[in-house]
Symmetry: C2
Subunit: 337 residues, 2 copies
Amino acid sequence: MKSRKGSITILDVAKEAGVSVSTVSRVLNDKDDVATETYEKVKAVIEEMGYTSSLAARSMRSRKKHLIGLVVPDIGFPYSIEVMKGINRAIADTNYDLLLYTTGDVKKNAAALHEQHYVSLLNKSITDGVIVVASAAADFRTDAPIVAIDPHMPNPNYPAIHATNYKGALDAMEHLVSLGHRRIGFISGRPDLESAKRRLKGYQDALQQAGIELDPSVIKTGDFTSGSGHDCAKELLILPEPPTAIFAANDQTAIGVYQAADELGFRIPEDLSVVGFDNISEARFMGLTTVDQFLDEMGYIATQMIITLIQNESLDEPIYKMPTQLVIRDSARTLSV
Amino acid sequence: MKSRKGSITILDVAKEAGVSVSTVSRVLNDKDDVATETYEKVKAVIEEMGYTSSLAARSMRSRKKHLIGLVVPDIGFPYSIEVMKGINRAIADTNYDLLLYTTGDVKKNAAALHEQHYVSLLNKSITDGVIVVASAAADFRTDAPIVAIDPHMPNPNYPAIHATNYKGALDAMEHLVSLGHRRIGFISGRPDLESAKRRLKGYQDALQQAGIELDPSVIKTGDFTSGSGHDCAKELLILPEPPTAIFAANDQTAIGVYQAADELGFRIPEDLSVVGFDNISEARFMGLTTVDQFLDEMGYIATQMIITLIQNESLDEPIYKMPTQLVIRDSARTLSV
DNA sequence: TTGAAAGCGCTAACAG
DNA sequence: CTGTTAGCGCTTTCAA
C-alpha cells in the first residue's frame, strides 16, 4: 500500500513528461490532435507513474462518463440479485461500466425522498444515467436519463419496465384450478406496491372466473419476505378447513410456506400445492412451480433502455411490459379427492 | 423528468436563501456554527428547490465521503453474490453507503492492471476506502485503505481475508474417506488461483494421510464454473473404473457434476457421492455436502476491517483467516461394497 | 500541435 | 455567526 503523499495528479504527469497539463488531458481522452511522438511519451509516463485520473475532477468537467448508475434498496434480496445479473450481463456487452449505489438496507432509508437524493447524487455528477430498482417516487428531478424497474407506482412519470403481474397471477391460479383445487389460499405482498396489488387482483379475478367464491379467511397479507410467508402459511394451515393449495405472492414468500408446511407436518405437494412468483434461482432448486417474470431479462432491457436514452435517442416504448410465463415444477399437483 | 437547465448548484441555493455559499455549505455538512434561524431557512430552501449537492465537487474538496467502494469482477457469480450479501449486511449497520464498481465481465478487463485502475479510480476521489474481491494484484497503489477478500496471491502486500482452504479440503476428503470411499475424483479450480491450489493440496495430502495412492487420471483441471464441472465429471464418469466420489473445487463445479451425472445415468448419492466447496445458496437447495467458507461472513468482516482502517486505526490481524466448516448434506453417503 | 488560463461546484481557512 | 476567497484536479476554449 504505497502512497506518495498528495497523490499523483495530472500536473505531476505533465511535469515528468515535459508537457502541459492540457496535452496530458488530450492524451487521456484520446483526442486525435496530438503528435504521435508526444502521445507515446505521455502514455509511457502515465504507465510508469501508475497515474489514474480523479473520477471526481473528471466528472466535474466532462459530459460523458461512460458510467451507468444503479440504485438498489437492498442488494441482498434474491429479487435484486436476479435483476442485477441481467444488468451485469448487459453492461458486459457495452463500453459502459456500472456504479451501484446502495445503503444496504431498505429500512435504513425507507423514504422515497432518499431515493430521489441518490438518483440526483449519481446522475448530476458521476453517472450518464441511472437505473432505479423498485422506485417509490412518482417523479424524478434529474439531469440525466433514468429508467425504473418495477416501480411502486402504477403510472410513473418516467420510463419504466415491469412485468405483467396481473396476467401472471391469472395463469398461476388457472393452473391450480385446472389441477382441481377449489380452496386456494393467497399470501399477498406489501399492499402498497403496485405489483402486489395486481397479483392480488389476478387471484381474485381468477377465482371469480372459475366460479369459486372468494373466502377472505384464506387471504393473508404478507410483505414479500419468507418470514411473512411462514407466518401467514401457519395461520392458513391451522384453519379448520385448510386450503389445498397456496398461491404465494412471490418465491420468497413461498419459501416461508415450505418451512411452515414442514413444521406442521404438511408435505408438499402431497398435502399442499404451492405456487410462487418471480422464479428466483432458489425456486429452481426447490422445484417450485412459479411465474417467471424474467427479472434477469428485465435488468438487461432496462440497461438497453438507459443507454438508448443516454445516446439522446428516444424510446419507442417508455413503459415496457415484460410478459410473464408459468413455470411448472413439482410443488403443485392434481388434487386427489 | 424535469430538469432546469444547467442543474441547480449551491450558488442558486445561496442566492435564493439570501446567504453566502459557505453558509449553505455549513448547513449541508451540519456544522454547528450556524444560527438556528439561518439553518432552518437554508434547509427549507434546499428542500424546496430539491437541491442535491454534486458528489463530484464534494468529493474533490472534502476528506470524508462516508462511502465505501467495492470492486467486484462479476456481480453475477454466486460467489460474488454471497460476499456482497455480507458486505451489504455490514453496511446496513453503519452510516456508510456502498458504491460498487463493476465492468460486468471478468473477461472484459481481465488484467490486474485494470483492477488497480478501478481501485485508484474510487479510492483517490469518491470513496474512503475500498474492498476488492478476488484481487489479482500483488500490490496496490492507493491513497485510501484497501482490504481484499480472497486475493489470488498467497501473501499479498495489503490487508486481506481468506478462508482456510487447505483445512477445508482436508475435512471434505476425510469425510469422504470415512464414508469408505477410496477412489475419489477431484475437479480443480483455476490453477493460477491460490485458493484452488490450496484445495488441491488438501485433496492430495488427505489421500496420502489415508494411505490411498494418488491417481492422476481422476484429477481434472476445471475453472470454478459449472461448465467445467460438467465436462470434467463426464471424463471422470466414462472412465473404465469411475470414481465412487467426486470432490469438486467449488459448488458451481459441483452443480456441473450433477448435470453430467444426470446425463450419464448416475444417481447422486446412490452411484456417486459429491462434495463441493463454498456453500452458496444453491448448494443448500441442492442438498449438497459442502465446505462452508462463510462467504457472507467474510464480506461482513472485510467491511469492518475497512472501516477500522478508515478511522485510522490499525488492524490487529492484517491477514484474517476465516475458518471453514464441513456441512454434511445428502449428496454423499457411505460406500456400499 | 501545443500551452495558458478560465472555470466546474464545492469546502475550508481566514477575516470580519 | 457569516462572507470572501483560494484552490481541489480536470477539461476546454482560445491563442500562439
